[in-house]
């Protein structure tokens, strides 16, 4: 674009360049007027708060001026990594996000393959429609449903397990630490599995049908076709999604853990986001909370760029 405007003007003085610039500015005034206020808004709410990261290097006291604050260097970070609670929180975050990722991938791929084997269009569409629905409900509603279903008094899960004779007395699911990560993983699956199949089903439909025809002629059965054609066909999309998810490894979420967590399982339910909320807004230790939040963001960005590099090396250019 710029080349065309400046074509043949390489030797012109800066004055004329400035004049051209002003002319362009004037001719595009309407585009500028339409976009600059919105860009200002984006900068204000997304970039300006980064200034607040300075708090992570202070012992921040509200109300005091920037230069009156006590600067403590990396002390907050040092404190964080010596803090047993934070290490526990880090462990929970990593564990839950890995569990969510693995469960999420496996269930979505399996459900996509199962749906792909349903040949009646109407049945397939009906099942899809129902399975997408939970995606659009808030976590409040979903955790409410989870809590009701797992209730010790007449929750359906205990009810069914008792009737099947698998357990002899109701289990206190939400009050038992060792079940918590699994419950969070299962809740994610319940909410998102249908929705996550969309992308795989789209990839499956783009597989060349002649491959299946050729396999039919060779006498391949259904399992062989799934294993040798369908799965390799969706492998690229699986790899891309896996890599993209790497950048979110510290984003185990906030809502589910906050809403389902309780005093009895607190050692297993707290994630970084909950830690930030608690230390920042409840206890008022803004500096420590900012340091924890900053740690999360910086690691996420580093992982994102690493993932992007891996993707490029694998010949995929769909990221960033």
């Amino acid at each position: 674009m710029r080349e065309t405007v400046l074509k043949g003007e390489t030797a012109v003085g800066t004055e004329r360049k400035a004049a051209t610039f002003r002319k362009r500015l004037w001719s595009q005034r309407e585009l500028i007027l339409m976009s600059f206020p919105l860009v200002a808004l984006v900068i204000l709410f997304a970039y300006v708060p980064i200034w607040g990261w300075l708090m992570a290097f202070q012992q921040y006291r509200p109300g005091a001026k920037l230069f009156d604050q006590e600067w403590v260097g990396f002390d907050q970070f040092r404190f964080l990594f010596a803090d047993e609670v934070f290490l526990q929180v880090l462990r929970n975050t990593l564990a839950m996000s890995v569990i969510n990722m693995v469960l999420g991938f496996v269930t979505a791929i399996v459900l996509a393959l199962m749906l792909n084997e349903v040949k009646q269009k109407f049945t397939k569409r009906f099942i899809q429609t129902i399975s997408y629905l939970p995606h659009f409900l808030s976590w409040i509603i979903v955790t409410g449903i989870v809590a009701t279903s797992l209730s010790i008094e007449d929750g359906i899960v205990n009810d069914v397990l008792m009737r099947l004779g698998l357990i002899s007395e109701p289990i206190l699911w939400l009050g038992t630490p060792k079940y918590f990560w699994g419950i969070v993983g299962a809740s994610h699956v319940w909410k998102e599995v249908g929705w996550n199949t969309i992308i795989y089903l789209a990839a499956i439909t783009s597989i060349d049908p002649s491959l299946y025809e050729a396999a039919d002629m060779d006498g391949a059965n259904r399992y062989r076709k799934i294993y040798h054609i369908t799965l390799p066909g969706i492998r690229p999309i699986i790899i891309i999604l896996l890599i993209m998810n790497l950048g979110h490894i510290l984003e185990a979420g906030f809502e589910v853990q906050y809403l389902l967590g309780n005093g009895q399982v607190i050692d297993y339910s707290q994630t970084i986001d909950i830690f930030v909320l608690k230390y920042g807004l409840r206890v008022g230790n803004y500096s420590l909370a900012t340091a924890a939040g900053m740690f999360k963001t910086v690691i996420s960005i580093v992982l994102l760029f690493a993932a992007n590099n891996i993707a490029k090396r694998l010949g995929e250019e769909r990221l960033v």
């Binding site: 500015l25 585009l31 709410f45 749906l115 429609t129 409410g144 008094e153």
Partner: protein, 305 residues
């Protein structure tokens, strides 16, 4: 089973049977909790605590819903939810598409820098505490606008709309300019009407997000007069889920006006069921009609901007 075996041969028949059975299980697991919540929401509160409500209410009553809509702050929260959904969606979609239009103009001199500034916001956030201080310094704590303005420009939606605009013929814009229309008028009278399909998609994403949101209420606007339906439901959930036991009888100080008005009792559990249904209903009602658009949007977003 036997006839199926004969007709299709053993192996596909077994496969299909197992496949359909498992899919049926998934349907049941997905749908049952809703049906059960609906049943509980229509069942008399005290009776529910005796247990054994599955798919149908045992002692039918409208009372739970009545107390939701008669109690002091719930109707107000309902209106706040509607207001933020409508205002948030209209403003966000309009301004996001306007930015998308500007960034779709090939001659725009700041195209590249502005695109980078906007798209980068998808990949990082300053975090809760710095954002809280910013909102506080802007005096936006406990104001309605905190629901609307901070997230008004969505980078993802901007890319979706811009991708769509790129598929429109450039000659449309050119001929509008020849006719003397400025950029804003071209956007309003040519581009916006042609973008309706993609705007439907984006609006639905934004509206669902607004309707379901509670975290911003929790952090930035805990004032009662700005509470939303989701936030009220969240408070109730916290109260009824005391120590993870999910004890339905634990009525931890839930204050419902219009309670005990007649013979029956309203318990936190039955109120919770009723609010859950009220909060989910708008989505469940429009869902069948908008499903098509959701999927289109996901595919458009997948196309790299």
């Amino acid at each position: 089973m036997d006839t199926v075996k004969k007709r299709f041969g053993l192996e596909p028949a077994i496969f299909n049977t197992i496949n359909y059975f498992l899919l049926l299980c998934i349907l049941v697991v997905t749908l049952y909790p809703f049906l059960n919540t609906i049943a509980v929401s229509f069942n008399e509160g005290l009776d529910t605590t005796r247990g054994g409500i599955y798919l149908l209410p045992r002692e039918f009553t409208w009372q739970n819903y009545e107390s939701v809509f008669k109690s002091g702050h719930l109707p107000h929260a309902f209106w706040i939810s509607i207001a933020r959904t409508v205002a948030g969606t209209v403003l966000s979609v309009f301004f996001t598409s306007m930015l998308a239009y500007v960034l779709s103009r090939p001659e725009y001199m700041f195209k590249k820098s502005v695109t980078i500034i906007v798209v980068l916001t998808m990949y990082f956030s300053a975090g809760l505490i710095p954002s809280y201080f910013l909102i506080k310094d802007l005096h936006m704590l406990n104001t309605f606008w905190v629901y609307i303005i901070p997230a008004m420009i969505s980078a993802f939606n901007m890319i979706v709309v811009r991708t769509y605009i790129h598929t429109l013929p450039e000659s449309l814009v050119e001929s509008a300019k020849i006719d003397g229309a400025g950029e804003f008028r071209t956007f309003m009278s040519i581009i916006l009407p042609l973008c309706m399909p993609v705007l439907a998609t984006v609006s639905l994403f934004v509206a669902v997000g607004q309707w379901n949101s509670w975290f911003d209420t929790f952090i930035f606007a805990p004032k009662q007069s700005l509470s939303t339906l989701q936030y009220e439901l969240m408070k109730l959930l916290n109260n009824t889920m005391s120590a993870g036991s999910g004890a339905p009888g634990a009525s931890a100080g839930v204050n419902q006006g219009g309670q005990n008005s007649s013979a029956g009792m309203v318990t936190p559990l039955s109120i919770r069921a009723a609010i859950t249904i009220v909060a989910a209903l708008p989505i469940i009602l429009v869902y069948p009609f908008m499903q098509r658009y959701f999927v289109t949007g996901l595919q458009l977003g997948g196309v790299k901007g």
